[in-house]
């Protein structure tokens, strides 16, 4: 297994810059997810690592060896494609052995690898079938099997679960996590589905417009987003955002007011913030932090506009007189109805603050987040 080092990587198609100077170090045996909206360049970056796209500028090293001009076949990587890209005219066995035969491995070695891989992926009964005789999940497993048999330094996976139905996606996700554990391999996984990224990855690379917005563990991204984009992109439903104004600053305590709130609220910061009164900020609050708990000091009052009953949770859309409704994620049996006037409460400590450029102001993490992330993760990186 190998590490992957990317320095100042750039790619353009004519006048269009799609990768704008990316720096990233992926550790050996790490499961890294590239996450971002469509068109952010995550697949292009993966294809550049694979050798399917040329590198215009910068360096790419796999296992400390510069790979810029090394052909795809010689990079010792395997890739799982979104569409599986199985050879339609070859059986499962032939699909898996094609690359091994080209590597001119001995027949016994090929047989051994295929039978081992088929066992791991429960494909043994299907080895002599053609791809079209398999279900979506089985095809996906063959695609993964074809990657595994080569025993590469790095696995690249390009949205491998996006063509599967919801139930299968969940089970394949678990299977992928198990595989990573078993193979102890460096894996780079591209997805636009944050649940996949958050559940599978050791570290997530959030991308936008060909640039990296933040690299961090799933919990870091959730609790300590570096900027407003990451805060709004990570987490479902989307984080609530409010315009606020600084009314007081006492070292590590910043007091703000906003149209949405009945009284000023004081947020504890990690460092003394240099904010004068009147500074405009954006305050963000995760939907699950808004709840019907009278012990919490602050409240938002509004009319229930819509309730999405998702089973274990209910998403309550609250009209508080602002253009966007406030969303709260409450328990599934929350006794509210459309049109009800309700108050939802929250703690100021769960609020995130961002300046007008969208950069996060380092806050002191709430106790529960601190416990999850370890004591050294006191604040925003």
């Amino acid at each position: 297994m190998a590490n992957v080092d990317i320095k100042e990587l750039r790619k353009n198609y004519g006048a269009l810059d799609v990768i704008k100077g990316i720096n990233l170090s992926i550790r050996e045996k790490e499961f890294t997810c590239f996450l971002g909206p469509s068109g952010c360049g995550k697949s292009t970056l993966l294809r550049m690592i694979a050798g399917l796209e040329d590198i215009d500028e910068g360096t790419l090293a796999i296992g400390n060896k510069v790979m810029n001009d090394v052909p795809a076949a010689k990079r010792n990587i395997s890739m799982v494609f979104q569409s599986y890209a199985l050879y339609p005219h070859m059986t499962v066995r032939q699909n898996m052995e094609f690359g091994l035969k080209l590597l001119k491995l001995p027949k016994e070695e090929i047989e051994l690898r295929i039978s081992e891989t088929a066992q791991i992926l429960q494909l043994t009964p299907y080895l002599d079938r053609l791809p079209k005789q398999l279900s979506g999940g089985q095809r996906q497993r063959v695609a993964i099997g074809r990657a595994i048999v080569k025993r590469p330094q790095v696995f690249l996976l390009d949205e491998p679960l996006s063509n599967l139905d919801a139930a299968l996606r969940v089970s394949m996700r678990v299977e992928l996590a198990r595989l990573h554990e078993e193979l102890d391999a460096t894996m780079i996984y591209v997805t636009h589905d944050q649940i996949e990224a958050m559940t599978l990855a050791d570290r997530v690379v959030v991308m936008r417009d060909g640039q990296i917005e933040q690299v961090g563990t799933p919990l870091e991204l959730l609790h300590s987003p570096k900027n407003l984009f990451v805060a709004q992109f990570i987490g479902s439903p989307k984080i609530n955002s409010f315009d606020v104004e600084v009314v007081g600053n006492h070292g590590t305590q910043v007091t703000v007011t906003g149209q949405a709130f009945s009284k000023p609220l004081t947020v504890e910061m990690a460092n003394a913030a240099n904010l004068s009164s009147g500074t405009r900020l954006t305050l963000c609050l995760r939907p699950h932090r808004l709840r019907n708990d009278t012990n919490l000091e602050h409240q938002i009052t509004g009319t229930v506009q819509l309730i999405e009953r998702l089973g274990s949770e209910s998403l309550i859309h609250l009209d508080i007189g602002l253009p966007d409704p406030v969303i709260s994620s409450s328990e599934g049996t929350a006794p509210v109805r459309r049109g009800d006037q309700i108050s939802l409460r929250f703690s100021a400590q769960n609020c995130l603050l961002f300046d007008t450029q969208g950069a996060a102001l380092p806050r002191k993490l709430p106790a529960d987040a601190q416990a999850l992330m370890g004591t050294d993760a006191q604040h925003v990186a």
Binding site: G51, A72, A73, F81, R146
Partner: protein, 288 residues
Amino acid sequence: MSPKNRITPYAFIAPYLIAFGCLWLIPIIYSFSMSFFNTRARPWKFDMLHNWGRLFEDALFLATLKNTFLIILVQVPFMLALAVIFAVFLNSKLLFLKGIYRFAIFAPIVVADAAYAVIFRLLFNDDFGFVNQLLNAVGIADIAWTGSSAGAIALISISLTWRWTGYNAVIILAGLQSIPKDIYEASELDGASRFTQFLYITLPNLKPVILLCLVLSTFGTLQLFTEPTLLTEGGPGVSTTTVAMYMYQQGFKSFNFGYGSAIAYFIVFIGLGLSLIQFKLLGSKSDA
């Protein structure tokens, strides 16, 4: 549904059905039945094996059958191999002005039979043709394009190839373009060279399309009439007389309609048989 409503849909399709019946179905059945009649003298007499039995004893018919098969064997595989090469060439990412090349390769199909036959007769004239002059220029002796059996078969094969390669290349190009790009990328990562990709990815995936072209070309050549008629007039001797020409001679020159019909249906059955064999040999479960 009222009786009127029940009739309406049939009324709509009636014009087609009447035209189909009069122009297709009745002639097909009538001509097939004709093959069981002795039509050499009036009144025609029913004789089950008169024409069909004669087919297998008629040396001239068997010679035309041999000629036709010879042209199929010489020309069709060569043309299809050339069509695959053209299609791969037209599909290349490195090729500029693809539209022009595609048109140039396809253009022969839109030229009238008679027009191109005249040009080919001039080009391949045994005495003063441009092709022989060209051969002479590089030190090769004249070829008797119309004066020898081999030359005449070659001339017809060359003209058929000129005319139909582009047509097949365009069909194969469509097949090429339908092969997903990502399986080429997957094979690139597997370490396949361009040539390996062509052998192990392109050709197997083109098999259904090549099979279609093979069946169409075989059927087309079984009906071959225009080129030998206009270029060699079936000669020298009967060395380029095809089954279709012989059918025409029997049916419309000798007015032996029964025998002509038997030959026509024999061509149909041979074509069906050959297609079945081709599907059996080349078709696989994946193409079914």
